[in-house]
Symmetry: C2
Amino acid sequence: MIDPYEKFQRFCIAAGLKSSKPREKVAQLFLSSQEHLSVFRAYEKLKEQGENIGYSTVYRTLNLLVKAGLAETITYQGETYYENKAANLHHDHLVCNKCGKTIEFSCASIERLQTAIARKHNFQVQSHSLILYGLCKDCNKEKKAKQ
Amino acid sequence: MIDPYEKFQRFCIAAGLKSSKPREKVAQLFLSSQEHLSVFRAYEKLKEQGENIGYSTVYRTLNLLVKAGLAETITYQGETYYENKAANLHHDHLVCNKCGKTIEFSCASIERLQTAIARKHNFQVQSHSLILYGLCKDCNKEKKAKQ
DNA sequence: ATGTTTGCAAACCCTTTGCAGGCCC
DNA sequence: GGGCCTGCAAAGGGTTTGCAAACAT
């Protein structure tokens, strides 16, 4: 299993792209991060690190990472989040409708069922997204307290 | 089990809304449709029917249907699709990355597992979205033919 | 030198909002 | 007639693109 960052570099070379510091920084930030990064968060984090990298570059690099097969996107409330495909092999999400918190989980049984369903439809799965929306522990408690 | 359209009317009354033809038309179109409607498609279909209803009204009505619990939204490639919650009790989706076609399926076993996971996290599920992305039968065949 | 990358600003797309006139009750 | 509804146009938020200057090879 090769290093994701190396995989990204190889992808760039294969695509005829030149190397550049801003792109490296964005890719490294993303690949070393465990959470789902929105473009905004990525931009902020880079700024905190003293890097002054424009939004367009962040966008362009994150989209490159998707093309390279290293990232996946999920959309939540109109915003796109990029998630590291290499880090945790697979995880799905519980998203709280009230506070927006996300909890990750993974379930091999669900994965197996998904594979079975796809096969039944002659469908070749490339990625998937499973999100359960509702109220998290805390927000649910609050709600009950009010009643 | 009451008629979804009646449920919508009751919801409107309860919310202190007056009735209006444009809203009725949009709601009826949506509730009698089996597919996932984008705002654009809904707008077009209404136009085909000779109705001249503005985008805002379509948006407002579809969002009302969500509030009424009759519709759910899924986001695909930056566009929001509204889906009839009453029609098929539950279905998840296979979405082709190439031609965009969506295939519906439902799987009680997956639903059960989801419930179990949510309980484990003290999470109260309100809705969920499961999408498998990949290549449909036809696009997959094409791809193989080219090789 | 040639071609790619960058940051900025402008353009873009989908969605929401403000508003004047119209419709419902 | 008061208040909600409509359609239009304008604003809004996130994302992409055009461009001139900077950079890599």
